[in-house]
């Protein structure tokens, strides 16, 4: 199979990769060292591999890497500025929303996506937006609170991305 060359802007840096035509973004990102992007199912059911693709949360296991050519990606690694965490990350820590942490990157990315579009979501809107992110540890109580807390923090001016 002939290899393709694609260019992606990942977390603000432009990079060029050689890929196979059938490869999904998840595999390419992990191979290139973005290990915060997790694989939980490979079929779009769990949300652990979520990234922001052109500003929208997507399951990277479902996106052909070739189709992402020229796109702008933000992974969990791209949210913090050095030691300064993104407010969504702070909120997840404060509210105890992390247990094993395997679903956390996808959950945080989905939250960033939600709060970018809807800075003041209701609980129902939060649950709707994060319904595709499965977590087996937490029962979601503290994650919903973390999203609410993140919304407060971001309204208070703590924004970036």
């Amino acid at each position: 199979m002939s290899r393709l060359t694609i260019t992606l802007t990942i977390n603000g840096r432009e990079k060029t990769f050689r890929i196979d035509p059938g490869e999904k973004l998840l595999g390419v990102l992990r191979r290139e060292g973005y290990m915060g992007v997790k694989k939980g199912c490979g079929s779009g059911d769990c949300g652990a591999c979520a990234i922001l693709f052109n500003g929208r949360a997507v399951n990277s296991c479902l996106v052909f890497a070739a189709k992402a050519d020229g796109g702008t990606l933000i992974t969990i690694e791209g949210l913090a500025r050095g030691e300064i965490l993104h407010p969504v990350q702070i909120a997840f820590l404060e509210e105890g929303a992390i247990q094993c942490g395997y679903c956390t990157p996808g959950m945080v990315i989905a939250t960033v996506d939600l709060l970018t579009k809807n800075p003041d979501p209701t609980e129902g809107e939060i649950r709707e937006a994060l319904a595709g992110n499965l977590c087996r540890c937490t029962g979601y109580v503290k994650q919903v609170r973390a999203v609410q807390r993140a919304a407060e923090l971001m309204k208070g001016g703590e924004t970036h991305v």
Binding site: S43, L93, G96, G101, Y102, T138
Partner: protein, 773 residues
């Protein structure tokens, strides 16, 4: 908060997890996040048949493919019988498993493994393996297993520890207290309930995964997603026939376990490939493989018979359990025993009790450890029968439980009669706030206002139900945990623990315990868990043992270190060691003078009578104090569709002192939601040939954010005098609640007793139809 818990500085606080920042920033902390050059990708060929003999296997084409480094089959691998159950030695599970064998016993059973330069090559090589099978008649239900003339699943001569090979019986348990036959004769009212539970899976979001490689001394390193690193080391050494000292097991961050990673499933294969090829090997199950070939909760049929006097006092209890262990007997005996041992002591007033059970082989997916560990299956019929008994006696279900449940200062003969697949250990209850749990929970749900009212809104009928339960904290006289603490000259400490944080937060709570004793903030404790080369022995994360058993080891190690610190500090403060106290990173004399911990360690390291301040301590628990839980649920049942919605769930739990309340709540919330999934939607559907038909997270429905009800988790604190800082466990108990609680609420709503899980709309409609005809 108990008076004794009030004075804690670090314990009892919801401090941030010590690994939280790494996890929330996506640091490469998990097994598969470590990339090593030249890593082989391993794929496993699973059996397409439930029961078959491998007549021939030809791997020559696979081996000849460019990029294939190694192919393993039964022809070129060790033949030692072992168990995959990661239990203490000697394991109470039968030695009925080989790495590979010329017989397969369930769909997905290992046939061969291929290691190649890429996943694509490995998959292509799997397809190139030619296997000729002789299909054998299969046992596809617990009823078929014990039938005369049934196919014998483990007919091999070298398996050991099987109770009755010919009848496919893995284990048999039978214990008596008093005389139940006479007890039932003397009872005024008898209730009998038989319940069946389904195949269900843990589904951690990270599947089983191991990365193996050889270190500079040619030792085998297994970086693996496990709850039991020390058992992995021992069982892989046994399976591969190599000295244990040749193996190092590293447990990095783990993406959830819930029992399925108390199993040695992949490490032997990856390890042997690294030994044969000298290259790193990554073996990671796909979600489909996880469903087909990892572990499940043992499906059970459990019958409970209760005899009670007119005033509600229970007079006789009988429980009979039949457990399906699937093709291998992993945890077969102990899960079965726990079905009785973790449930029957709750109703200790009954003078007559009988527990009888068998675990049987089938050619179906393999059972294993799963949060709740048999108690989940036992509480369903027990608490259903209690609800029915209350109905028959015309009593409030709460009142019936109040007069029968075990209380502070009491014991149960079951503790001594039935333990971890053998005799148990007698104990009395030294902490129990179950009465307050019931009281607080019933108020929160609105029991007296809502019970029996059948609020109806359109097709939806509301009802409320309750259940109570207990679990344990570790396995008494069997579990062992150790901890090492060493001090650094800046006043920080390394806490080295074999205890296995698989997402529970145990690194954090164990550090809180040590920090409490040593008078330092949490960030002065530098935690390493777990690495069999660096950390002391711990049986691992199972049986609700970590807080209680490992926590006590940590407390003891910290106390030894504190004793060393005050001895060094005494001359600096011109005081005697026994009057010194530790707080705020310093040692204080009664007069108020102080010296920093950093200064103390500098003295010990560089100045006078030099030595390393540090200690190792161990804990073997002599009892297993139970956490207690009162569950309440309000449900709405749709009379037209049969759908059941949980409207509100209340869980009031006594776990002793919660070392970190936020993490304790998290354990409860996660366990209850897992239990709600088990009650309503989760079921592995098997074909008539024994194949899992819904091996994906799309078709096997675990709860998502839209599927969970509003929940109130209430920590009702007690102080367990035998526990570290007054703590008991909380990891498992929550999962036992939803099934009986929801079942009893459905009865309150529409008057049907559901005895088969999950409570799907079809089953609810069917039961309503039967009840009305």
């Amino acid at each position: 908060m108990s008076d004794r818990a009030k004075n804690f500085a670090t314990v009892g606080k919801s401090l941030r997890k010590v690994d939280g920042v790494a996890l929330v920033t996506g640091k490469p902390e998990f097994v598969a996040d470590l990339q090593l050059p030249d890593t082989l990708i391993v794929k496993v060929l699973g059996s397409p048949f439930a029961h078959a003999r491998i007549v021939s296997i030809d791997v020559s084409a696979a081996e000849a493919m460019p990029g294939v480094a190694c192919v393993l089959t039964h022809k070129n691998t060790p033949t030692t019988r072992h168990t995959t159950a990661g239990q203490g030695f000697p394991e109470p599970s039968p030695y009925d498993t080989r790495m590979f064998e010329n017989k397969v016993r369930f769909v997905g059973d290992r046939v061969a493994a291929v290691a190649a330069d890429s996943e694509e090559i490995a998959e292509a090589a799997l397809k190139a393996i030619r296997v000729e099978y002789e299909e054998l008649p299969a046992v596809l239900s617990i009823d078929e297993a014990r039938r005369d003339g049934a196919p014998v699943i483990h007919d091999e001569p070298d398996s050991t520890g099987i109770y009755d090979v010919v009848r496919n019986i893995v284990a048999d348990v039978d214990i008596d207290v008093g005389d139940v036959v006479q007890g039932f004769d003397e009872s005024d009212e008898i209730v009998e309930v038989t319940c069946e539970t389904q195949y269900a899976q843990h589904t951690p979001i990270e599947t089983h995964v191991v990365l193996s490689y050889l270190d500079s001394a040619n030792r085998l390193v297994l970086r693996t997603s496990t709850q039991v690193p020390f058992h992995v080391r021992r069982i892989v050494a046994q399976t591969l026939g190599i000295p244990m000292q040749q193996i190092r097991v590293i447990k990095p961050r783990i993406g959830g376990g819930f029992g399925t990673k108390q199993e040695i499933l992949l490490e032997d294969v990856a390890g042997l490939i690294s030994m044969r090829t000298g290259r790193p090997a990554l073996l990671s199950l796909t979600r489909k493989e996880e469903f087909a070939s990892s572990r499940t909760r043992h499906p059970m049929r459990v019958r409970v018979k209760l005899g009670a006097m007119k005033d509600g006092r229970l007079h006789a209890i009988e429980m009979e359990a039949t457990s399906n262990t699937g093709a291998y007997g992993s945890h077969g005996l102990t899960v079965l025993a726990n079905t009785g041992s973790k449930t029957l002591p709750l109703y200790n007033k009954a003078p007559n009790a009988h527990f009888y059970g068998q675990a049987v082989y089938t050619n179906l997916p393999v059972g294993g450890a799963y949060r709740g560990y048999g108690a989940t299956q036992g509480y369903f019929p027990l608490e259903t029968a209690m609800d029915e008994m209350a109905d028959r006696l015309g009593m409030d279900p709460i009142e019936l439980r109040r007069i029968n449940h075990i209380q502070l200062g009491e014991t149960s003969p079951i503790f001594e009669k039935l333990g971890e697949g053998r005799e148990g250990v007698s104990q009395t209850v030294k902490s129990c706030e179950l009465p307050r749990c019931i009281e607080i929970g019933s108020e929160r749900i609105g029991w007296s206002k809502k019970r029996g009212k059948r609020l109806t809104i359109g097709p939806w009928v509301h009802g409320i139900g309750m259940s109570i339960m207990m679990q344990g904290s570790g396995i008494p006289e069997i579990d062992m945990a150790a901890a090492t603490i060493k001090m650094n000259e800046d006043g920080s400490f390394n806490l080295l623990i074999g205890a296995t944080d698989l997402g529970t937060g145990s690194d954090t709570i164990l550090a809180q315990i040590a920090a409490e004793v040593l008078g330092v903030p949490l960030d002065k404790m530098l935690v390493v868990s777990s690495d069999t080369d660096l950390t002391p022995f711990d049986v691992g994360a199972y049986a609700s043992s970590t807080t209680y058993v490992s926590g006590m080891a940590v407390q003891r190690a910290a106390e030894k270190v504190r004793d060393q610190i005050v001895r060094v500090a005494a001359p600096l403060l011109d005081a005697s060691a026994d009057e010194l106290t530790l707080r705020d990173n310093a040692v204080f004399a009664p007069a108020g003078t102080s010296v920093s911990l950093a200064r103390v360690c500098q003295r010990a390291m560089y100045e006078t009578d030099q030595f390393q301040i540090g200690a190792t301590a161990s804990c073997v628990p002599h009892e297993s104090p139970a956490p207690f839980l009162a569950n309440f649920a309000e449900v709405a049942v749709n009379r037209e569709t049969g759908k059941v919605k949980v409207v509100h769930y209340v869980a009031a739990v006594d776990c002793g002192v919660a070392i970190n309340p936020q993490l304790a709540e998290g354990q409860m919330e996660g366990a209850i939601v897992n239990g709600i999934g088990y009650a309503l939607t989760e079921e592995m559907i098997l074909s008539s040939k024994g194949r899992v038909r819904n091996p994906s997270l799309f078709d096997y429905k675990i709860p998502g954010m839209l599927d969970v009800p509003p929940m109130d988790i209430i920590l009702v604190e007690s102080y367990e005098p035998t526990g570290p800082m007054g703590a008991k466990s909380v990891g498992e108990i929550g999962i036992n609640g939803p099934i009986p609680t929801i079942a009893n609420a459905i009865y309150d709503a529409v008057g049907i007793r559901l005895t088969e899980t999950p409570f799907t709309p079809e089953r609810v409609l069917q039961a309503m139809k039967e009840a009305s005809s």
